[in-house]
């Protein structure tokens, strides 16, 4: 089964992350890189996202797209990155989530896999 691991952080947490001294931040990136390396065979895809200050939202108001600045969710937490993993079951996905090195919160959700031609190339 495929799962999406959503790595979330509070907005405060993300600001702290951005203001970390360069060497500490590279140490953290090294741990994340190590996690991706170790779990390589199970990882289908994954990216870190720019902060929500870089987000732009397209909202459909009465069917018409309106472009606005900022994230669409007014939440305390924000998605900092994600990984799509392909594992046997939830327990295996949870093992991956529990070993995520930087803390914060990891939401684990099954991906719906459609029969027939894939949605992307």
């Amino acid at each position: 089964m495929k799962y999406m691991l959503m790595f979330t952080a509070t907005k405060d947490g993300q600001r702290q992350w951005e203001s970390l001294p360069e060497e500490k931040r590279s140490a953290e990136y090294a741990r994340i890189g190590e996690w991706f390396g170790r779990n390589g065979p199970k990882i289908v895809d994954g990216y870190e996202l720019q902060s929500d200050q870089a987000a732009t939202t397209v909202r459909f108001d009465s069917g018409k797209p309106v472009v606005t600045d900022g994230p669409f969710l007014e939440a305390k937490e924000t998605i900092a990155g994600y990984a799509i993993v392909d594992v046997a079951d939830l327990d295996e996905a949870l093992v991956l989530a529990k070993t995520w090195p930087t803390g914060g919160t990891v939401e684990v959700r099954p991906v719906i896999e459609r029969q027939g031609p894939p949605a992307r190339g």
Binding site: M1, D89, L90, D91, A93, L94, V95, P110
Partner: protein
């Protein structure tokens, strides 16, 4: 994923079989595999009304020992799936009672004083989550086992307390969840005989159940441990719990359930409240606090401290839990006792009133009101 549904279906068949055959044939000489869970449960309900209950119980306990390993593994898979941490507590409880203990949705609804529709919906949602989220139907792997067993034990202990803490008036109309939980803990011990905390939990439940008869007075009022008629305690159950604790101790992996059971056993072995080995109780609480430093455990340790070092020392310890427990009625009820003993009557009265404002449980309220009246 279909395995979960299948396992549950098999249990349901066992119930039907038991209901159809038992009244006609009585307990078979060589009870089949279906006796281990639901059918045994139903059998015990029936046997309870029977004068030969004890003899039959022994027969059924014996039958359970013959559980072969494939069936045992299947039961364990079912238990671990029902108590998976990805399910909510409510769903874990309902699913375990339904699929492992074989209760009907209406029995579960009555036990939790909620509607049958609510329970049915909870179970449907939980099953859907098991399938959609890919919760595996298997015994957790070694690395996860300890943590997952903790989850199972927590579900069973919560179930037990839900039943045990019901008041006398409610108890007449509620299903005895405490007995169901103890039966499930017994099943777990048979399936995982090398797990000391499972043994500890079962011992703890049996020690509490041994006091059932003495917990309520003639008018259904709650009688605290301190004032219980100890001749009404079930000595056989206490002895069986002590044997379980000895087995657990032999495995040399202490844990919170074993320690709580050891505390309950120390009380059970004392001929009176005054004769209790308070030094032992205090030492056990110290050990428990090292593992689970919760404020409620600290409050209980303070009560033991009162008997070893006096009310003044105990009050200081109780007061230290104020930041966490200020809205817990037992915090104020305990303070009231200690303040009264120290001759600080007005403060004791005030503490009792605060305790009374913080509990809705009728039996507890009645007890506090009696104390308040006796202080006039």
């Amino acid at each position: 994923m279909g395995n979960f549904d299948l396992a549950e279906e098999l249990v349901q068949e066992a119930v039907l079989e038991a209901i159809e055959h038992w009244p006609k044939t009585g307990i078979p000489d060589r009870p089949g595999a279906w006796l281990f869970t639901t059918a045994r449960r139903k059998a015990i309900d029936q046997a309870r009304r029977d004068v030969r209950y004890q003899a039959k119980l022994v027969l059924l306990e014996g039958a359970a020992l013959n559980l072969d390993s494939a069936e045992g593994d299947d039961r364990l898979r079912l238990i671990f799936t029902c108590c998976h941490p990805a399910l909510s507590r409510e769903a874990q409880l309902a699913l375990t009672l339904r699929a492992v203990a074989g209760l009907t949705t209406s029995e579960i609804a009555r036990a939790f004083i909620t509607s049958e529709a609510t329970v049915a919906q909870r179970i449907v949602r939980a099953k859907r989550k098991i399938v959609d989220a890919g919760i595996p139907y298997r015994i957790p792997q070694d690395a996860d086992l300890a943590e997952r067993l903790q989850e199972v034990l927590a579900v069973l202990y919560l179930m037990f307390n839900e039943g045990y803490l019901a008041t006398a008036g409610e108890a007449a109309t509620r299903r005895d969840l405490a007995e169901d939980a103890a039966w499930l803990a017994g099943l777990l011990v048979r399936l995982m005989p090398g797990e000391p905390e499972a043994l500890g939990l079962l011992a703890l439940m049996r020690l509490h159940l041994a006091r059932t008869e003495a917990r309520f007075g003639a008018d259904g009022e709650l009688v605290l441990l301190q004032h219980q008629d100890r001749s009404r305690w079930d000595r056989d159950r206490i002895a069986s719990a002590s044997a379980l604790l000895d087995r657990a101790a032999g495995l040399r992996r202490p844990g919170p359930y074993q320690l709580q059971a050891a505390i309950a056993a120390t009380h059970a072995e004392a001929s009176s409240w005054e004769e209790t080995d308070w030094n032992e109780v205090l030492a056990l609480y110290e050990a428990l606090i090292r593992i689970t430093p919760s404020p409620v455990v600290r409050l209980n340790r303070a009560i033991a401290r009162r008997h070893v070092a006096g009310a003044g020392a105990a009050l200081a310890e109780v007061d230290a839990t104020a930041p966490e427990l200020a809205s817990y009625y037992l915090f104020h009820a305990t303070r009231a006792e200690l303040l009264r003993e120290l001759g600080r009557a007005p403060e004791a009265r005030e503490a009792l009133e605060r305790a009374l404002a913080l509990t809705q449980n009728p039996a507890e309220r009645a007890l506090l009101e009696r104390r308040l009246a006796s202080q006039e």
